[in-house]
């Protein structure tokens, strides 16, 4: 029963990682931009959700505000800054997007101040559902898993069964050829970027009641998000899904079972430090192992 609960916890963490990683991997795969500012849009989403929900008292309006806020901020950044970076080398992109991180942090500090807000939630949100006999699980976390699942299915439909998806796939393979065929590539780029930002907004909205809504919250999760897309294969949404599941599960189950296991095997002084070290490194160990066997990730976009 505890194992099942820990698996659900792992799924929930995977869902958060997937919402962020799918947008990031699309942006990297199609535009070739290393976007360190991806976490900033997640932060903007969380702040929009929390402050709108506080002002209106409506949980769902908070969600809407997060999607719109992140998408608008994304559109602004894409048209003013990102657009100039597509043809530049990776160092320029890293520097510019890092500047966007600092700028966004200071902007939100100026607007909202330094006190983290509390996101109000409706009654049903903090209730529990009986998943199995003897296992009660919070609605809030089930909702998170559902959102991740929904986005995964939605992305699959979008990419494999729509015209836009076809362009996205084509763009990821050879964007020069797509442009030569008369597709408005600048518009496609803006669209993909804004779409990725809206997914960040969704992640921010889902995370706002569970996590601290604070300046710099995006940077904390960005590194793990990059690990996810490297493990999954850069540019591939399927890869992002697999990567998110793998990293989310390894992290959660590792935290749950490594310490009790080592406690039984080793004397307590050594087991404590060893398990803490293993837990901190687990995601990176997985990444190293995957790259050793498949240097381009599990499901790379381009064969």
């Amino acid at each position: 029963m505890l194992l099942l609960e820990q698996i659900l916890n792992g799924l929930q963490y995977s869902a958060l990682l997937f919402l962020l990683a799918s947008g990031l991997t699309l942006i990297f795969g199609i535009m070739g931009v290393i976007n360190l500012a991806h976490g900033a849009f997640y932060m903007v989403g969380a702040f929009c959700a929390a402050y709108t929900a506080m002002a209106t008292g409506s949980f769902w309006l908070g969600g809407l505000a997060a999607l719109i806020g992140s998408a608008c901020y994304g559109a602004l950044i894409e048209t003013s800054i990102m657009r100039r970076l597509y043809s530049r080398d990776h160092l320029d992109q890293v520097l510019a997007t890092l500047a966007v991180v600092f700028f966004s942090n200071e902007l939100l500090t100026l607007i909202f101040g330094r006190s983290p807000p509390a996101m109000p939630t409706p009654e049903w949100y903090s209730s529990f559902v009986q998943v199995l006999p003897g296992l009660m699980y919070p609605v809030s976390r089930l909702l998170f898993i559902a959102a991740g699942l929904l986005v995964a299915v939605g992305m699959w439909l979008l990419i494999n069964h729509t015209r836009l998806g076809m362009l996205i796939r084509a763009g990821a393979d050879d964007h020069e050829m797509v442009g030569a065929l008369g597709v408005n590539i600048a518009r496609l780029y803006t669209l993909v970027f804004v779409f990725g930002c809206a997914l960040c907004g969704l992640a921010g909205f889902m995370a706002a009641p569970l996590l601290s809504v604070e300046i710099g919250m995006g940077e904390k999760i960005l590194i793990t998000t990059f690990v996810v897309i490297v493990v999954g294969g850069v540019g591939s949404v399927r890869g992002a899904l697999v990567g998110a599941l793998l990293i989310g599960m390894v992290d959660s189950l590792g935290r749950a079972y490594i310490p009790p296991l080592l406690d039984q095997l080793l004397p307590s002084e050594t087991s404590g430090t060893l398990s803490a070290g293993l837990i901190s490194a687990s995601a990176y160990i997985v990444m190293a192992l995957v790259l050793l066997v498949r240097p381009r990730g599990l499901l790379p976009a381009r064969a």
């Binding site: 505890l2 820990q6 903090s126 919070p138 009641p209 935290r255």
Partner: protein
């Protein structure tokens, strides 16, 4: 041309003003953390210190002072550069640092030709055998809140506890401090530094079914933990004991209603009827339009402590022995009641247990439950030979 005349006028009047000001103000170097998510700690500290200066119209203890605030960005190397520059500028009185790793980088520069008076962190490494003549602490010794949490758990009758902290020096010290005084049985769980999701650890807590938990996660991590502890339904079943740094007033506001029932161990009781405290809370709330945190309170107290010593020494920091004596025998109306220094120049103060409860208007309030220790001397004082 008109402009030029105007400027000349301004310049001369400025000169006149400086000439009239006979005493050169004592400059105080305030190195603190204003950026990063922990920026609010520095913001509250700075505002607390500034309030004490403003209340005396730019003076502390009747001596004109100038506060020079710099942001260390939570980077020890940057803090060291700032301290070196301030030292070259001739500043010889420092305070403001929030984090112990930053303090370690600053302390030698600050105490070489001057004084450091801590408004916040005071690691055990500087409290025992390696205590320093020019280093005073106005706040508290780092281990004490965790030791007091152990005392609180004993007094609340808990026998079996799960204790959690991030796996870094501060976290390990916290759990060690708790175990020093707690008499029951403990299970330790180390979390990752900067961990976001605690559902896994919470599931373990549920399966271990302790009488209560103790956790130390300062800043954003603490908000995450407390939100999820409430969200998992555990807060209604298993009480939580925390040092105030895991649930300061701003964190409480961010966590909201699920923080109800949290037991907070603190060195400052915001509701204390001590007149100096009442005046501080009122003045701070009026000036900054928010309730003061413990960081603001202990920094305000440190500012007034410095003020009292400046008054005795008439603002003269050149005579180090005289200023040291003025600090050691300092008398001032602390917002925490009686205040004096132990052998190691760390404060001897009272410790309290507060509990978060719903007030009459439904808003959360911190209700004083009991005094955990009166005139408490920290665990390292006896090892110091100044």
């Amino acid at each position: 041309m008109k402009n030029l005349v105007l400027r000349a006028c301004l310049a001369t009047s400025l000169c006149a003003a400086t000439a009239a000001q006979a005493v050169e103000p004592v400059r105080i170097g305030f190195i603190t953390t204003l950026s990063t998510p922990a920026g609010y700690l520095g913001e509250d500290s700075r505002d607390g210190f500034q309030l004490a200066i403003d209340q005396e119209d730019g003076k502390l203890g009747g001596v004109p002072v100038q506060l020079i605030v710099e942001d260390d960005g939570l980077q020890p190397a940057k803090a060291k550069q700032i301290a070196d520059r301030m030292s070259l500028d001739g500043i010889s009185l420092y305070t403001g640092v929030i984090f112990s790793n930053v303090l370690a980088a600053v302390i030698n520069t600050a105490t070489k030709d001057g004084f450091y008076v801590s408004n916040n962190t005071a690691p055990s490494t500087l409290a025992g055998e390696k205590c320093m003549a020019n280093y005073f602490v106005g706040s508290y010794q780092n281990d004490t809140p965790h030791e007091m949490a152990g005392v609180a758990a004993n007094e609340l009758g808990y026998k079996k506890m799960v204790i959690l902290a991030p796996n870094y020096q501060g976290g390990r010290d916290a759990l060690a401090g708790f175990k020093r005084t707690f008499k029951g049985e403990v299970t330790e769980i180390y979390t990752k530094l900067n961990q976001l999701d605690f559902s896994v650890e919470l599931a373990r807590v549920r399966s271990l079914a302790p009488d209560a938990i103790f956790q130390f996660h300062p800043g954003g991590g603490g908000i995450n933990f407390a939100k999820q502890y409430g969200g998992s339904g555990l807060s209604a079943q298993i009480p939580m004991v925390v040092p105030v740094f895991s649930m300061d007033e701003r964190m409480l506001a961010a966590v909201g209603d699920v923080a109800k029932g949290t037991n907070i161990v603190t060195l400052w009781n915001p509701q204390s009827d001590n007149p100096a405290n009442q005046a501080f809370v009122k003045a701070f709330s009026e000036k900054y339009k928010r309730a003061p945190t413990v960081y603001a309170a202990q920094t305000y107290d440190t500012a007034r402590l410095i003020g009292a010593a400046l008054k005795t020494s008439q603002g003269n920091l050149k005579d180090q022995a005289a200023f040291r004596a003025a600090m050691k025998n300092v008398k001032f109306d602390s917002i925490r009641g009686d205040f004096s220094f132990a052998q190691n120049q760390h404060p001897v103060i009272d410790w309290y247990l507060l509990q978060v409860q719903a007030g009459a208007d439904g808003k959360l309030v911190e209700v004083p439950i009991r005094t955990l220790a009166t005139r408490h001397v920290d665990s390292y004082a006896a090892q110091c030979a100044i």
